[in-house]
């Protein structure tokens, strides 16, 4: 008897990632050419905020895909044919 082919559940984890998280985070606006000390440090602060945002987006994408993969694995386990203990073949 040929083995029953295993059909992968139709999960598409990448589709759960919204476009907002796929898009790159833009850098902070450059200070003017004659920027004073406050503007330069303001730029550094804003740029650090953008870095936090970008890192957060990466973390969110990993989180979404990890959770989706876990749900997928759970579904695959549930769908796996169970062998009856008394069945010899």
């Amino acid at each position: 008897m040929p083995p029953t082919p295993t059909i992968q559940p139709a999960f598409n984890c990448a589709s759960l990632v919204p476009d907002r998280l796929k898009a790159p985070v833009a850098g902070a606006p450059l200070p003017p050419a004659d920027a004073d000390a406050g503007q330069v440090w303001g730029f550094a602060d804003a740029q650090t905020g953008r870095l936090d945002m970008a890192n957060g987006h990466t973390s969110d994408v990993v989180d979404i895909v990890t959770k989706c993969e876990a749900a997928k694995a759970e579904a695959q386990t549930a769908l796996k044919p169970k062998r009856k203990w008394w069945w010899p073949f």
């Binding site: 008897m1 759960l16 050419a33 004073d36 440090w41 749900a71 579904a75 769908l79």
Partner: protein, 142 residues
Amino acid sequence: MPAFLIAWGAGALRWGGTPKNWPYIGAGLVILTIIFLVVMVRHDGAVIQRQGVQVVGAKAAATVAKGDAQAATDAAGVVSKGADRDAAIQATGAAHARVLQTTPGHDAPVARSVNDAARRGLCDYAAYANDPTCVQLRKPRP
């Protein structure tokens, strides 16, 4: 051909009619019975497996749909928390900017040469490749 079969059958009956051959006949019957049982069990197994596949097929859609819904709910939760985090980061940046603008000495000048060198450096990064001031910097001077 029929004559051959009749002759063969008669020979077999005469052979089987001898008591000393009965153990061989019994052993043959046992082997045939075992083969028959194995064939039947395997056939039933195939039928049961086909039915099982149908049941799994029906349950699979529900299981996958449930998992899909769970994954979508999880993703929505992550996205919502992420949006809150981004808003908090922007609020923090705005608060810092207000502090900087009111701190004494914030308007201390930075040497133009330092500003220019810093800008040229930043313009080397992909993040500012399309910034208008960087595009202007890259233009060859007439």
